[in-house]
Subunit: 254 residues, 2 copies
């Protein structure tokens, strides 16, 4: 993990871009507590970490929304980090993913239902590639002295969050955003999830398969799982819903 | 409205039983603010009111849970009140309701689906009788100097909450508990609801028609509506879900 830039934002949050091999990422850490003297006394306690799940749009286009979530989390005492998905941003495309994306667009433009084979081709290889990268990022992030556990996961591409919740024991709690396409195979994996979950669903998101989101919520094996459905369309998550997700992490990670 | 008993509870909440004609009810008002002198200075500001929706079990059996909600609301500065449903507690039964209840029990014991005609016979006359009583209670409660607006509604028998939200303009926001049987006719009324709603659904409540609850949530016409689904069975609403409902009222009534 190599830091490539460092900037102290106006609210004191430290934003650092990094690369992990070829993968670009961003790390935000909270401002030092105002009471701690800058040059003496014990080092501040390591901050618990929230992984900001991969933005399908790519880091650059999703940056304003990621930054808002990072600032909010920092105010609650959390470090946050994210990395670019395979095939997004400046990362190399691969032909099968491009084909699946083209098939998806064609089906949607034609007003046809998006078949299972398109969803599988679009999502399953992405999950298989991305999850080990997030685990490698977690190794690197947790080796920094300013970051500790426990670790939360918050974000999009619900299949990646689901797989991570199953295979990565360092993740203690997850906020998942319902709405992306979910391959049938993920429902089986969902049954193996046992960590506390907080699932956000935009009820009136027309591009969203609401029934699939409800079925996936039902499938999760977690004893504590909560679904918060709200109005406001795809990007209109209300402020109070963000507040509730923040409280979920405070309850489970602090 | 006649008060029939008055008790100051250990947390300072004033609990008063009353009758409104033949209907028994309970009113809880918050403890006076600690800074206000008892015999001088301006009277405390009237408390906003939350109606604690009618307990199908009857006031006496539901008392411990009602009291817990009243205490919690009082701590947030709200007065709360509830009245007995027609045909519950010591109130006179009526034959058609007894018949509908017997039909319901027979269907459930036989493991048969509960038909629309049973649900209609059970719920629709109850809504027709109860709603004007709640409006009369609201008249009486709002005439007390210690109670002001705005008014919220929180509670069970979701069809009564739905009808009240449509016909009673003094109710500004409602927390509804999904789970009771919903007559088909109520879906049409639900479309006319426009106040902010916060709907609680116990996802793993086996006695609950989950699909009907989701359909009813979908039908509500409110621009701000939120569904919180949680685990814990019929009576196991988690503490954090109660907290979220309390914050909804603080957001809308204060």
């Amino acid at each position: 993990m190599q830091f490539t830039s460092e900037e102290r934002l106006d609210d004191g949050v430290l934003e650092r871009e990094f690369t992990l091999g070829e993968i670009p990422g961003i790390l935000w850490t909270p401002a030092p507590a105002p009471t701690s003297a800058p040059t003496s006394g014990p080092a501040p306690a390591p901050a618990p970490l929230i992984l900001l799940g991969p933005p399908p749009l790519g880091l650059r286009r999703a940056y304003p929304r990621l930054l808002a979530r990072a600032r909010r989390s920092a105010a609650d005492g959390f470090a946050t980090a994210t990395i670019e998905l395979p095939g997004r941003g400046d990362r190399p495309r691969w032909p099968a993913a491009e084909q699946a994306l083209a098939d998806l667009r064609r089906a949607m433009e034609a007003g046809e239902p998006v078949g299972d084979e398109i969803i599988d081709a679009l999502i399953l290889p992405l999950v298989d590639k991305a999850v080990p990268e997030w685990q490698a990022a977690l190794d690197a992030l947790l080796s920094l002295p300013e970051i500790g556990g426990p670790v939360g996961y918050s974000g999009g591409v619900i299949s990646i969050g689901t797989r991570l919740a199953v295979v990565e024991p360092r993740i203690s709690a997850a906020v998942l955003f319902a709405g992306s396409f979910v391959p049938r195979a993920m429902f089986e994996e969902a049954r193996q999830v046992t960590i506390p979950l907080h699932v956000l669903l935009q009820w009136d998101d027309e591009g969203n398969d609401r029934q699939a989101a409800l079925d996936l919520f039902d499938a999760f094996g977690s004893k504590e799982k909560t679904l918060h459905a709200n109005m406001g369309g795809h990007t209109g998550v209300p402020q109070f819903a963000g507040d509730a997700a923040a409280r979920f992490f405070i309850r489970h990670l602090k």
